[in-house]
């Protein structure tokens, strides 16, 4: 009962944040309401099940969208970028609706022991990195839109300055990359200790996560090459989100031991 109340109130708040996007204060308030509801939901799950709630699609998407909305709201308030909350709220809402419709909610992962210390940390780190890559994607979109407007000799006053969007994109990629690196290391430590045989190395999610790590590593390198800085670097960071999405999708079917139930 409490789960449904918290989930639905969070969804309603995000929907409100998306609808009233043109009124920043109201939109921020609604987003904050949704975050509080879903943090309470995650805490409730954590207390009830004694593991980090992120081992099925439903939990993972609640965790992912809460981190995503939290990050965007934080940046919005700190840098006065209401468009960030306005854009992210519908994205979070879509993810949550998909998770609500698609996934069973309470069965822990069959192969991964979610109570083991590195497994919980691994889940937190990787989902945190995905949320940051999504922030980078949104910031990249804002950069491209602002640049298009300037190149078209227009002034788009609802978009952030190019420099702000680029800094946010870079910061999100850099921190996301660090978290993903730490997530991969903790996953490796867990797998080496718990998994029999080397087969886990060829798991679809492991391979896709490695490809994601490589792609964002390249994006970071592009930021220091003069001719690749700016637009090209941003486009590369936005394109890399495809790998993040594929990595998430892998947990639905392709992966063996990473599969969500």
């Amino acid at each position: 009962m409490i789960e449904n109340i918290l989930l639905i109130s969070g969804l309603a708040f995000y929907a409100l944040a998306a609808v009233v996007g043109a009124r920043p204060a109201l939109s921020r308030g609604a987003a904050a309401g949704g975050i509080v509801a879903h943090v309470a939901l995650l805490a409730h799950w954590g207390a009830q099940r004694l593991y980090v709630p992120g081992t099925n699609l439903y939990e993972a998407f609640v965790l992912l969208t809460t981190v995503l909305m939290g990050l965007c709201l934080l940046v919005d308030v700190a840098r006065r970028m209401p468009i960030l909350t306005r854009i992210t709220a519908p994205v979070a809402l879509t993810f949550l609706i998909v998770a609500t419709v698609a996934g069973p909610r309470s069965t822990p992962h069959p192969t991964l022991d979610p109570r083991a210390f590195p497994a919980g940390v691994h889940v937190m780190l990787t989902l945190g990195s995905y949320a940051l890559f999504m922030v980078a994607f949104v910031a990249g979109g804002l950069y491209i839109a602002a640049q298009r407007s300037l190149k078209g000799h227009e002034i788009a006053s609802n978009l952030p300055p190019l420099e702000t969007a680029l800094k946010l994109n870079r910061a999100a990629v850099a921190i996301g990359f660090l978290l993903l690196t730490a997530g991969i290391v903790t996953g490796y430590l867990y797998a080496r200790a718990r998994m029999p045989g080397p087969e886990w190395r060829l798991d679809a999610k492991v391979l896709l996560a490695t490809a994601t790590w490589t792609a964002y590593g390249i994006v970071l390198l592009m930021a220091v090459v003069p001719r690749l800085r700016g637009r090209r670097e941003v486009v590369a960071s936005m394109a890399s989100i495809v790998l993040v999405m594929l990595t998430l999708l892998a947990t639905l079917g392709w992966s063996g031991f990473h599969r969500f139930v």
Binding site: A146, Q147, S149, L150, K151, H153, E154, I155, A156, S157, L159, P161, L162, E163, T164, K167, V225, P226, R227, L228, R229, G230, R231, R232
Partner: protein, 388 residues
């Protein structure tokens, strides 16, 4: 309310007249009018005195002055504060000037129960207009559009470097707009070094000769060119070379020259944003059209706020009560006097009228501690001479 505004502005008074009153002494001006409260607002385009008093002398600005009272005066102040009466509709500078004029009067003790709430409300209304409409968006002149473009690229102009090629007046006006937005690091290059030095002195900038351009270009985040040349001074090759030396950081180029000083091909680089004079003028005209479009909404807000203010302000309420009381007194007085006069024989119409008028004047001054001696004496004399 007893509020009046008297002033001269760009609408009616020529600059020669405005110049005469450009730097008024508020204390002297208000003393001349005999006002109890007064605020003097002085901007580039107007000098106005907002006054409160019973018998104001409003002939302080001569024949071209306008005078508005009560509701009209309130509406005028709201419109002025919101920038709706400005030469460039929607400009926000005037709000700062209204705040400053009010603060000066407040500090000098020249405001009271009428002007304090009025000016505080005017500031609120101006902010409401700026927030709820797009009347102040965009740049209303070429220099301000140039500075706004820079703000769409860079976060903090204070940390950016501006390179100006040419020391002409148009370029220097643009420098002023950037300076106004906090940009500090400025370098001016010119063919005649003396002119560059002189211009640089005006803006605490650095100066140099035009042949330093290749050395200085990579340092610049913003470049303003306003040279009289037959051929562009900055071509794509030169700009790309500078961009490489600044590690791909973006560069905004504002080309104010006619013929153009910068080759259009320079814009093809991802991180170069080139705007020529036509681009800037298009943006200015778009802004002005947008502001005109927003004017209706802004005036609607002002009109609603005037209504709310008139109906709710404390001094207005007292005035209305006093007026109602006076009407009631007059009507009671008339009926009592009619009844009295019918019982007294021999009173002429003139005597009746004098008695009515003297009593009426006494009521009018009932709120003051000392009714005018003339009225009191007239009533007593009339009673002594007319009543049996």
């Amino acid at each position: 309310m007893n509020i009046a505004v008297v002033g001269i502005s760009h609408h009616r008074a020529p600059i020669e007249v405005r110049e005469r009153f450009a730097k008024p002494d508020p204390a002297t001006l208000i003393a001349q009018t005999g006002a109890r409260e007064g605020v003097v607002l002085s901007t580039c385009n107007r000098v106005e005195a907002y006054l409160v008093g019973d018998a104001l002398d409003l002939a302080i600005f001569g024949d071209t002055a306008y005078v508005k009272r009560d509701r009209e005066a309130v509406e005028h102040l709201f419109r002025v504060a919101a920038g709706l009466d400005a030469m460039v509709v929607g400009e926000t500078e005037v709000l700062g000037q209204v705040k400053s004029a009010y603060q000066t009067a407040l500090d000098a003790g020249r405001t009271g129960r009428v002007l304090n709430p009025l000016f505080q409300r005017a500031i609120f209304v101006a902010k409401r207009v700026h927030t709820e409409t797009r009347i102040n968006e965009g740049g209303a002149s070429v220099p301000s559009v140039a500075a706004r473009l820079a703000e769409r690229i860079f976060e903090d102009l204070a940390r950016r470097r501006l390179l100006v090629l040419g020391a002409g007046e148009t370029g220097l006006l643009t420098v002023r707009a950037f300076r106004h937005r906090g940009l500090k690091q400025i370098r001016i290059l010119n063919r005649t070094i003396e002119k560059a030095v002189e211009a640089a002195r005006r803006f605490s900038a650095e100066s140099g000769a035009l042949d330093e351009v290749d050395a200085r270009l990579p340092e610049a985040d913003i470049v303003v060119t306003c040279l009289d040349l037959d051929q562009p001074i900055l071509d794509a090759r030169r700009v790309v070379a500078a961009l490489d030396r600044r590690a791909g950081d973006p560069m905004l180029i504002i080309d104010l020259g006619v013929p153009r000083n910068v080759s259009g091909a320079a814009d093809e680089s991802d991180n170069v944003y080139l705007f020529d004079i036509d681009d800037l003028e298009t943006l200015v005209s778009r802004t002005m059209n947008q502001r005109e479009g927003e004017l209706g909404r802004a005036l609607e807000i002002v009109s609603t706020e005037v209504e709310t203010y008139i109906n709710s302000n404390p001094s207005g309420e007292v005035d209305r009560l006093m007026k109602a009381l006076r009407t009631r007194f007059n009507s009671l007085q008339d009926s009592e006097l009619d009844s009295l006069f019918s019982k007294i024989e021999g009173l002429t119409d003139l005597q009746k009228a004098q008695l009515r008028s003297a009593l009426s004047e006494l009521w009018t001054h009932a709120s003051s501690d000392t009714p005018p001696e003339n009225s009191r004496a007239a009533v007593e004399r009339l009673i002594r001479t007319t009543l049996p």
